[in-house]
């Protein structure tokens, strides 16, 4: 357990922290891309122990948060159809659509089931040949290989009563979009560790170069994050902008090749809308035409969806790092985890839920 002790050892944390303090001479804004990192930062109080020159802003890396309202409303419509078993990761069940959420559909008699893997959804399809089984396939590059595999396997086995409602997004185009915005404040990125486990970090090299931002693929442990920040600050202070991998134990430059192969067999890159942000060119994965019988959007005609976003919710600007959750007038008042107005208050990776849970109620 020596290794573990080292990783959690506050002495090491203090060493990294004092290194950061020694290095820094001016203010810097660093964005952690992944919502899992945001939660780790707030839970461990990393935001409170850093020198005041460092401002951490929270990125769009919360798959539940960026799944567009249209798709959620479509999920609600499909899940309400007779003869459909609608399967999903648990996080999606409480995400508010225009009028209700999946829990409500379930309480109204819809057959909505939580699964932990898309292969479980496929198994339900195998065992219920007289039903249509739909899996809500959302997420970033990390969940894409599993969701692709379920379609690939359905195809191999000739299972036709299985389909996926896909809302897959890709992280690098969103990182690029934020950097190219005139409102951008981000000067360095901590990139999402497990996204890089799948995709590697080659894609980040041209971004770092073009926008002159250091990009650090970073893990989720407190020490990982502190080290990621140190690697970013060193480059910022020296005027360098390279991709430097902090998360050595899980990330290789080329990523996971077998996973990438299945992703590109089943999906193709296309435009995708992000909730609160808008359409980002070439930022999504769409099911290829040859596998379109597994595309729930094509299989089920749920008619015209008219969406209705909450007027109060400012999740979009929060996801772009332009505001903090406690700057939202509804935060902790009309909007709480029990009564969420936006997806960022629901998800275990959402910034609003992190601020609520770890009680960051004002700027310190």
């Amino acid at each position: 357990m020596k290794y573990l002790d080292e990783f959690r050892d506050p002495v090491i944390a203090k060493q990294i922290l004092s290194e950061i303090k020694k290095t820094i001479t001016q203010p810097w804004v660093i964005m952690e891309v992944c919502g899992g990192q945001t939660h780790s930062i707030l839970k461990n109080g990393i935001d409170q122990i850093l020198p005041k020159e460092i401002e951490l802003v929270h990125g769009p890396g919360c798959p539940v948060c960026v799944t567009p309202l249209e798709i959620i409303d479509k999920a609600l419509a499909i899940a309400s159809l007779p003869n459909v078993i609608f399967t999903s990761f648990g996080d999606m069940l409480r995400v508010p659509g225009s009028n209700k959420d999946l829990f409500q559909v379930k309480s109204e008699g819809g057959d909505v089931r939580i699964v932990y893997s898309p292969l479980e959804a496929l198994k339900i399809a195998r065992n219920n040949p007289d039903k249509e089984v739909v899996f809500f396939a959302i997420g970033f590059e990390t969940t894409a290989p599993g969701n692709a595999m379920a379609i690939y396997q359905a195809h191999r086995e000739g299972i036709t009563n299985f389909s996926e409602l896909v809302s897959h997004v890709l992280v690098p185009p969103a990182m690029t979009l934020l950097l190219s915005s005139p409102k951008n404040r981000v000067q360095a990125y901590l990139a999402a560790g497990h996204v890089c486990t799948i995709m590697g970090w080659r894609e980040y090299e041209p971004i770092a170069k073009q926008y002159k931002v250091p990009i650090i693929p970073t893990g989720f442990e407190p020490i990982d994050i502190l080290e990621g920040i140190l690697l970013a600050v060193q480059q910022l202070e020296e005027g360098r902008y390279e991709v430097v991998n902090q998360y050595l134990r899980a990330v290789q430059r080329d990523g996971n090749r077998p996973a990438q192969d299945i992703i590109s067999k089943i999906f193709e890159v296309g435009n995708r809308k992000w909730r609160g942000i808008g359409e980002i060119p070439q930022s999504g994965l769409l099911i290829r035409d040859e596998f379109s019988i597994y595309d729930a959007e094509k299989k089920f005609n749920v008619g015209n969806i008219i969406t209705q976003e909450s007027d109060e919710c400012i999740a979009g600007v929060i996801l772009q790092g332009l505001k903090k959750p406690h700057e939202c007038p509804a935060f902790g008042k009309e909007c709480t985890p029990m009564n969420p107005l936006g997806a960022t208050m629901v998800s275990s990776e959402g910034a609003c839920s992190a601020y609520y849970k770890y009680q960051r109620i004002k700027n310190d």
């Binding site: 357990m1 573990l4 292969l119 969940t143 595999m149 996973a259 998800s347 275990s348």
Partner: protein
Amino acid sequence: MCLGIPGKVEKIFDENGLKMGNINYSGTINKACLEYVPEIKVGQYTVVHAGFGISIIDEEEAMKSYEAWEVLVEFAAKDGVDLYGNPLEESKDLIK
């Protein structure tokens, strides 16, 4: 959704043509697909994400992440939810 649990591969088998494994996560055994870590062997550790092994890691790494995971689970349980945000009671009857 992008966190992952490390577990030890206890058994490798074929299921419907896919390489699968029984994975031991600190005592709890669950099935995961190992198609994305084709070279993995019994006794090695893998980070499992949504039912799929996505990378092979060494034992010390795995031990470290266990602790992080347990802290997360405890923390979620304090709020009456599991790690995926499901209420603890409801997740029991929803998982078939």
